[in-house]
Amino acid sequence: MNSAIGKLYPSTKFCFILLVIIASIFTPGHWFQYAMFPLFAVLSLFSGTFVKYLKAYLSSILLIVVLIFAVQVFIVRYDDTTPIWAFIGFSQTGLTASLGITSRIAAICAAIMWFFQVTSTKDMVYAMERANFPKKMTFVIISTIQMVPQMSALSATILDAQRSRGIETEGSLMTRMKAFVPMLGPLVLSLIQQTEERALALQSRAFLFKARKTSLYQIDKRPVDTVIQIVCLAAFVAYVVWMVIA
């Protein structure tokens, strides 16, 4: 988040990926969409998240794309399927369909993953509050994103504690299933107890008060943000005009 791109205002980056996603969905063919991943890889190089981006993208998207490709081309029956062996057949419409689907998935996932890697949660929530999103919505988003890693760590502790008290976690399926409730139960009950205390703490800090709060953490829209947003808007209008004409 320390690069020049990381310091941009979140809505600027959001406008950009929105433009990319809309263009990916509606542009016919598949070359534009497949080019999106290299584009975002280059952008992630400039924003200092190159290795993280590549690792995250390839580990999640590659498998899905290959599988969709294989199933659509070889297994689904279309009108022009020519059988090759047993139930595997090659289909030209399947090939075009799979190229279309996989290219769009690759492009949209590339854009979304890049956005979440270059925008910190704090910035996103601050931008949402400035844009007058309902306070309850921004609270839910930030508390969920913060709580999930804490709870994963807590559940690891509970897992070890229960194991040391004799809960079997290896063995037959039945044995492992009997371990599920003792693992989840203490976690949930301690969370519920914390919830009550948290509600009291928030109420004592005027959470539900209607006036606007001053934030200690500030980010501002700079001229470069306005320029990029205007360029995105112009590009979007040009794209719509081009799609309607062509």
Partner: protein, 201 residues
């Protein structure tokens, strides 16, 4: 206690949403660690919708998928499945289906049907029928046997979803029985599960 979309999002209900999302994430991690053949990833949504109602359950399902989607954007598409599970389960809780064992079993069937249908629609329209999960092998088997794409994906989801849904609803119900009365009375939808009925009268 007034219920409805305008009254359901009290502070306590809002704080239950991260609890539900964490439960779903931890449930998924536990089922990976304990090497279950099915993934228990909706447990938080079902649990929160039982005590918080349909709209809080819907937001819990949505947030669960948003949090997962930050790492793997495929989850964004399946947010509709979690949302429908939260919504339907919340209404079933309001209609007191979860207060006895027969209603709970019937709820499993209803929830499985809804989630399988929505998941099939999403899988077919967005992903062309496969998503990279193990259940794709079942889909491929159905397709190879000559079934149409819609039926194959739907059948896959119904079968693999049923076991997961039984565990989701079952474990949520067990934990619900353990919640103290003084917490349940503060929630809009917790009244049917309060044990000390003499104190309520």
């Amino acid at each position: 206690m007034k219920r409805g979309i305008r009254y359901d999002f009290s502070l306590l209900a809002l704080l239950l949403i991260p609890v539900g999302v964490s439960m779903s994430v931890v449930g998924y991690q536990l089922s990976t660690i304990l090497k279950f053949p099915i993934f228990i990833d909706q447990i938080g949504t079902v649990f929160v919708s039982m005590i918080g109602g349909p709209w809080v359950g819907l937001v819990t399902g949505l947030m669960g998928n948003v949090v997962n989607g930050m790492l793997n954007p495929v989850s964004f598409a399946y947010a509709f499945v979690s949302m429908i599970i939260g919504l339907v389960s919340g209404f079933l809780s309001r209609w007191k289906w979860y207060t006895n064992i027969f209603g709970t079993i019937a709820a499993c069937f209803v929830l499985n049907e809804c989630s399988a249908t929505v998941a099939a629609v999403v899988t077919i329209f967005v992903f062309g029928g496969v998503t990279g999960a193990g259940s794709d092998l079942v889909t491929a088997a159905f397709l190879a046997a000559g079934g149409a794409l819609v039926q194959s994906v739907l059948s896959t989801n119904l079968i693999t979803g049923m076991a997961a849904m039984i565990i989701d609803v079952g474990v949520s119900w067990i934990i619900l029985r353990r919640l103290p009365d003084r917490f349940l009375v503060k929630l809009n939808y917790g009244m049917p599960y309060v044990r000390n009925r003499k104190a309520l009268a």
